[in-house]
Assembly symmetry: C2
Homo-oligomer: 464 residues x 2
Amino acid sequence: MGVRMENRIIDKLIHIVGRDGVLCTPEDLAAYSYDGTFAEGIPEAVVLPPTTEQTAEIVKVAAEHRIPLIARGMGSGLAAGSIPVRAGGIVVSFTRMNRILEMDTANSTVLVQAGIVTADLQAEVEKLGLFYPPDPSSIRHSTIGGNIACNAGGPRCLKYGVTGNYVLGLTVVLADGRILKTGGKPIKDVTGYNLNALFTSSEGTLGLITEALLRLVTRPRFTKTALAEFDSLNNASRAVNAILAEGIVPASLELMDQTAIACIEEAMHLGLTTDVDASLIIETDGADEQTVMREAEAAGRICRENGARTVKVAQNEAERAGLWKARRSISPSLARKAPNKLGEDITVPRSAIPEVVQQLRAISAKYGLPVVIFGHAGDGNLHPNILFDKRRHEEWEKVEKMVREIFEVALAQGGTLSGEHGVGVLKRPYFEQALGSVSVEVQRRIKQALDPMNILNPGKMFQD
Amino acid sequence: MGVRMENRIIDKLIHIVGRDGVLCTPEDLAAYSYDGTFAEGIPEAVVLPPTTEQTAEIVKVAAEHRIPLIARGMGSGLAAGSIPVRAGGIVVSFTRMNRILEMDTANSTVLVQAGIVTADLQAEVEKLGLFYPPDPSSIRHSTIGGNIACNAGGPRCLKYGVTGNYVLGLTVVLADGRILKTGGKPIKDVTGYNLNALFTSSEGTLGLITEALLRLVTRPRFTKTALAEFDSLNNASRAVNAILAEGIVPASLELMDQTAIACIEEAMHLGLTTDVDASLIIETDGADEQTVMREAEAAGRICRENGARTVKVAQNEAERAGLWKARRSISPSLARKAPNKLGEDITVPRSAIPEVVQQLRAISAKYGLPVVIFGHAGDGNLHPNILFDKRRHEEWEKVEKMVREIFEVALAQGGTLSGEHGVGVLKRPYFEQALGSVSVEVQRRIKQALDPMNILNPGKMFQD
């Protein structure tokens, strides 16, 4: 198959979604050739279906001609999962399927199309006193469909769980164009295999998710946020374990290491103390103000007992916003330190964080490139970010070696490749090393069973 | 295949697990021919492996000779999932694999063999201040392996989630005897398909679960339990929704209807008011005594605002135990009312409970057999129990019709067949009606991909 799609196929696609639903100029194709990584791949066509039924018709055309289909939300992925890797293929963009189809306040559920931006969904449900907790950093420029395909996480997932914990039902277009409905409004359901969980985190390789029925919770009315600064990252990590051991489950327990704090302060001038080894942002929330306050106070006390130099509790919404501004500024701040960054997403058993950080620092020293460390400490999910200049070939070579060593550190500590970004293309080379050959073969068999012609996002997760 | 196993196969099994690990006298086989239902099926042999490796060797023998393998824990299943339904086959009993292999307090995880009794596991982890929340009624006579195979629930699952929410990793013997390891200690993991969730609730049809790595939480130190009595079940149901809408998530929100309360009081003489239409048992728990108390008070206030006649808060551990004694006495109490009972396990959207209860009462009136209703109201999971005398053929015929109508009520209200018991044999006839043909075919393909010879618990879930 060449990179130029046959006109008769283009015509079939136009017949399904109309002329304005099919993009195939070089400029348009280029706009759908990248994501949040360094990867690129030009599709042969981009189709923007407005409904599940039209998506199903598109899949039937692709199946007939054995054309790869790459599902795409907002293209914010961090593992190149929505990039065509084989020459060509059809990118199916869900950005026109961005509506809320049903809001059920009696059962705290919402039915949405896959292309809705997560922050837009959250804003709508919060108007009704409800709450959709998962909060990936990309929340304003990623879609629910993409969040589900990668089982996205975020700071609040310590208390509330990840995207998959909120998926009650899915509408999925299968590889042959048939439409599958999974799950439903009941909270508990053991009728058959857990297809919700199978399609969640399947990265577009088993079906195209077009709609999702999501569980909501009641919006927490009160929030208390604190910053705890430590002279030793080990102590910060001990404090995380001690807080959880007391039975306190903060919404968030975010770790920033010294390099992260220094980057933020240099870029933002927020008045952060830059000579600490690590900081924790601790947020408690809930329905009862006194409870939220008591939990925040207890967490602060535990931090001090575990060697925190200072614990500052935000006294008002402005101070709270300041703390989160610091946390959210890490990634943009890094851009001022170096032309490029590569952010990884390892997860490790919580207790291994101090050892892992020490080894990440050793990798940084070995290759002479900064590694900024931050992440969701309560979940053992760290984002080591390597800062470098991609134009310097020798730095890019170092980065590739460093990534391999970072994964090796995670795996040696009983961790894994990804807590929330997915495998996509970038972690394919390490997939079997992480999971073992039996697991990979089981997964290949499932893929083969549901997509025998391998047209759904081929070249992702599995090595060819 | 006859029901008498060939000696050469018996010899192979004895070679693997020793003579005392293979049972094949008629008396022994009879002991493994039933579960918690009316179903029966005699295996050709029972094997009791002590390790994963020996389980794998057993599976290889079965695969070579194409003999069905039926995994079994304590045989407490309520859907006939662990009963041989084809003539013969090998029951693999995990009761000798009942050890805790590793307790990791730093990461709040425990690694267990599949045959450990759930209550035994809970007692052990609670000694260390940890907590394994899922609490099926069968907790003292069911195993973790069986709980995982059915994704068991229980009263506490409203706040804490079901068994599947605690499965971090599994060791599974596949249909060809290979050993699969899934997951690991990291709380978040999106490296590949969610195999933990696929094997959880697979009812022994995709692999034999031999070990499980489970997530634990900190043991809640304080508990407050209340009984709210309502003149109208509708009001009780409204109160459930109102409590959750306020952002209060009790550990348990258990509903008992008038028939259930009357049965308990008649059998146990606990002093329950029997002229109420419904009662709720509400339990709040947590790390902070004041918070737990405040939540209990708020729940009580909401019940009164929604028409509760009385709200009684247990003032001490004896009173609390009394309330739970009432709840746990329902099933045994029913045995005094009628020779037999058939307990169902439908789940519906929470808001549909009043309508569903009304329709269940209509079914009871139509057939002239009592239907006792209780269950986990916060989750929309109801256990309608039909009381009857199996010796009377016409009553058994009525029961079969009533079960069909109960499922039809649940499905019509957007509910499903099972919240925690599974499909097994008993719900097979309704499986496709509940899920649709596309879903069933997807599940068949997964089954076929992982068990191409259909030797793992054949005849379960899917109609032949």
